[in-house]
């Protein structure tokens, strides 16, 4: 069974369709990269996946639960990481984890806290308030909170923004480890080398519509047409420039 099923997802703001009949699926253990130019509809798609705003049309199912009709059950299995970490100003690092454990009803969460704090190098900051943390540390805390309830689905919006090189390496390791443990991961990023390194499949979105979907090798092959040696970046540029050319000729 697919962990994430998106079928003909459409999100409209008034008459403007930010996402149009967008479909893809992610299996447990799979990492899917959502890439596209600025304003393509990536964040809108991820927010719809996380149940932050309801789709105008189409369906989003997480572990078999509809995000609109069975929102609570679907969200129990999900962790969403927005691009901008917005923490509670008046809770310490430790208390953020305690609060998250309460929200997701995590049984016996205390033994889980120290390994997470170690993983994200926050152990010596456990009594610090968000105002005492750098942006990168806030991002790490946000991710640590998301991992606490061992979610089956992880949704990242630009996960590496604000992290230092070591933080980026640890983040990549964390995502890979959780995917290997069976989590379905969707991540959006402009860093195509990261997508190439981490993702099994890629879906490219432009002007709210899906313009390419498949494994990275499939996409490269499709673009290279047997020539070989094409990077994901070249494939992406080739795919996303086509509609622009089409527009300029009409």
């Amino acid at each position: 069974m697919n962990a994430i099923e998106v079928v003909n997802l459409t999100k409209k703001y008034g008459s403007f369709a930010a996402v149009k009949e967008f479909s893809f699926a992610v299996k447990p253990g799979e990492v899917l990269g959502l890439v596209g130019p600025n304003g393509a509809g990536k964040t809108t798609t991820l927010r719809a996946l996380a149940g932050i705003h309801p789709p105008s049309d189409g369906q989003v199912r997480l572990c078999g639960f509809d995000i609109v009709n069975d929102a609570v059950e679907a969200k129990k299995r999900l962790a969403f990481f927005p691009d901008e970490p917005r923490l509670f100003d008046y809770l310490t690092v430790d208390e953020h984890l305690e609060f998250t454990a309460g929200i997701y009803r995590v049984r016996d969460f205390r033994p889980l806290v120290d390994p997470l704090l170690d993983e994200f190098e926050l152990r010596d900051k456990r009594r610090a308030l968000p105002s005492e943390l750098s942006r990168g540390m806030k991002q790490k805390l946000m991710i640590a909170c998301g991992f606490l309830h061992a979610p089956e689905i992880l949704i990242f919006d630009e996960p590496l923004t604000g992290l230092d090189p070591l933080g980026i390496r640890r983040m990549k390791e964390s995502i890979t480890r959780r995917a290997k443990a069976g989590a379905a991961v969707v991540l959006s990023s402009h860093l195509l080398h990261l997508v190439e390194e981490l993702c099994d499949t890629v879906v490219i979105i432009q002007d709210g519509a899906r313009v390419a979907y498949g494994t990275i090798d499939d996409l490269k092959w499709q673009i290279a047409q047997g020539r070989g040696g094409v990077s994901l970046e070249e494939a992406f540029l080739k795919i996303t420039e086509k509609p622009a050319e089409a527009r300029s000729t009409t």
């Binding site: 703001y13 930010a18 809108t44 927010r47 996380a50 149940g51 932050i52 705003h53 309801p54 929102a71 609570v72 059950e73 969200k75 129990k76 999900l78 962790a79 969403f80 927005p82 917005r86 923490l87 509670f88 100003d89 008046y90 809770l91 208390e95 305690e98 609060f99 454990a101 309460g102 929200i103 997701y104 009803r105 995590v106 049984r107 016996d108 969460f109 308030l129 105002s131």
Partner: protein, 575 residues
């Protein structure tokens, strides 16, 4: 370069104005703008037209005296800025201005010109507002010129202090000179003080008052004082001109003085860039702190925490209550302690005044405070959706329905207000019983009364909190204003509408409870007057109505919360 400065100033002003005007297409913003303008009309313009038709100043030389006094104030301000301790020469620039202009090939002189350009839109608006609110004689141009030249002067003084520091003339020396000058001028004016007022009877007529004012005015016209006030008088005359000719003369004078100040500032050639970065950062920090304080986000007791921990059985509702109560301990506990201390002071007063008439006065004040606290408390404790709105993305990704989330968000402040109310009511009851037992108030403030009052206070406080949270849910753009969006007619109108709406909703919410209360209390009074259950039977039905209303409101607001479009108004407000 000046073309570029003109472009950025006018285009920014135009775009800001257009953005505000475009927002008026939304009925809620149009309504708030109308409310703001209506208030302005009633408070400023209408009063102005009424005062001009009914009140005449006649021949009194009020304008002359106004000019004299304002000249002295302007002189004082111009002198005082030299005594400011800062000597870095830093000028306030925005982060974008620092990033774009400081590394650009722009000379210091041009940076100063830019600074003057960028000061114009707020100066224009201030001058317009002040003209509307009463300084009509300046015909706007006088106020604008006065503000503009004064701002150039302040810039020059800021750089002047930095230049003096380079010449090893520090704060103490500057302060000493300013004090000597201020004292000298004051003494010169005071030495003439006996002349106009000596042996003068109290003015009985307009003529006598006129003579007195003319005498007072002569204080400022001795040769030395006239010389000291020569430049300040330009500012004062521009603000309080006698006629159009005086205004024109003052404006020309100010223009000449402004050019001179600018030339001086440019010639000082102080390296103000680094200091400006520090000053600008400090300015931003101060603004952020003021904003945080206003929003109730400033942490006072960093290490305060609840003595209980969450478990897996707690669930999302309790987790949110725990979070909000923890936040309250850190941000508002000090205020709560203040309330308790003030009340305790009342109690001590009452104990000291035991037996006197003042005792019952203190009790009456305590009772009034108890009645008001549910309303005050809901404004003091903002640790609910009002503060969580910027984190709405995360809130909406939690496995909890909107209804339960709204319930959880208002539960923390409600419980806290209820606990303080228990303390206040119990204290008041004890105070009352310390008084003369024959007093009617003593009979009323019984233990049953305390319980019933608390039962009434809890839903009323919850309703108040719900109304505040409803604004955050239904009108998130109004609740989530950025620090630089806190001024203007529309924002002022929003506040008026929220205040008015709050009152109306509260009254409407209380009406059904009052309708139920009247007959049930009458019946309880008739059949159970001497029974201890009288108060319970009389009030519980009304309290039940309030709780039912609360339940319906929480359900409706929860549904509304689920439908909030994060990308819409909230997204715009947060970006």
């Amino acid at each position: 370069m000046i073309g570029a400065f003109w472009f950025v100033t006018t285009r920014s002003f135009k775009n800001r104005l257009l953005q505000r005007l475009r927002r008026l297409r939304s009925p809620r913003y149009a309504l708030s703008m109308l409310a703001g303008l209506a208030y302005l009309w009633f408070v400023a313009f209408r009063r102005m037209t009424m005062s001009s038709s009914h009140v005449s100043v006649g021949a009194l030389p009020v304008s002359d005296i106004g000019v004299d006094i304002l000249s002295v104030i302007a002189f004082g301000a111009m002198l005082l800025v030299w005594a400011f301790p800062d000597s870095g020469g830093g000028l306030v620039f925005s982060e974008a201005e620092i990033q774009f202009l400081f590394p650009a090939p722009v000379s210091r002189r041009e940076l100063l010109i830019y600074k003057i350009f960028r000061q114009q839109p707020p100066i224009l608006i201030s001058a317009l507002m002040m003209t509307a609110f009463g300084f009509r004689h300046s015909m706007f141009i006088g106020l604008w010129m006065a503000f503009m030249v004064m701002s150039i002067y302040f810039t020059m003084v800021s750089l002047g202090r930095a230049r003096l520091k380079l010449m090893h003339i520090g704060f103490v020396a500057r302060l000493a000179v300013v004090v000597v000058l201020a004292l000298g001028t004051g003494m010169l004016i005071a030495s003439d003080l006996h002349n106009p007022f000596a042996n003068k009877p109290e003015p009985q007529s307009n003529a006598q008052l006129e003579a007195l004012l003319r005498g007072a005015g002569s204080l400022f016209h001795s040769p030395f004082v006239r010389a000291m006030l020569f430049i300040p008088r330009f500012f004062a005359t521009a603000v309080f001109p006698k006629d159009a000719a005086t205004l024109a003369l003052a404006c020309v004078g100010l223009l000449a003085v402004g050019v001179a100040f600018f030339q001086l500032a440019a010639r000082l050639n102080v390296s103000f860039e680094e200091a400006s970065v520090h000053v600008s950062q400090k300015h931003q920090r101060v603004r952020a702190t003021i904003w945080d304080r206003r929003a109730g986000r400033v942490i006072i007791l960093r290490r305060a925490r609840l003595p209980v921990h969450l478990t897996e059985r707690s669930g999302p509702v309790l987790a949110i209550v725990w979070k909000n109560v923890t936040a309250m301990l850190r941000t508002s506990l000090a205020w709560m302690i203040l309330v308790v201390v003030v009340f305790s002071a009342f109690a001590v007063d009452a104990a000291i005044l035991h037996g006197s008439n003042l005792h019952m006065g203190v009790v009456a004040i305590s009772l009034m405070f108890c009645a008001l606290f549910p309303f005050i408390g809901s404004n003091m404790l903002r640790q609910d959706l009002r503060l969580d709105l910027p984190r709405i993305e995360i809130l909406k990704s939690y496995p909890i329905t909107g209804e339960r989330l709204v319930l959880a968000e208002i539960a923390g402040p409600t419980i806290t207000v209820a606990l303080v109310e228990v303390f206040l009511l119990s204290g008041t009851a004890i105070l009352t019983h310390l008084a003369d037992s024959s007093d009617a108030m003593t009979r009323w403030v019984s233990p049953e009364f305390v319980v019933i009052a608390l039962l009434v206070a809890i839903p009323i406080c919850a309703i108040e909190l719900l109304i505040h949270n409803a604004v955050a849910i239904i009108l998130p753009g109004w609740a989530l204003q950025a620090p630089d969006e806190t001024r203007g007619f529309a924002v002022f109108g929003q506040r008026l509408l929220i205040l008015g709406g709050n009152l109306i909703v509260l009254v409407v919410a209380l009406v059904p409870a009052v309708i139920v209360f009247a007959p049930t209390f009458f019946l309880a009074h008739r059949y159970f007057q001497d029974s201890p259950v009288f108060l319970v039977l009389g009030t519980v039905p009304a309290i039940t109505v309030l709780f039912v209303e609360l339940w319906i409101a929480i359900h409706l607001l929860g549904t509304q919360f689920d439908q909030i479009d994060v990308a819409g108004e909230i997204g715009q407000a947060m970006s």
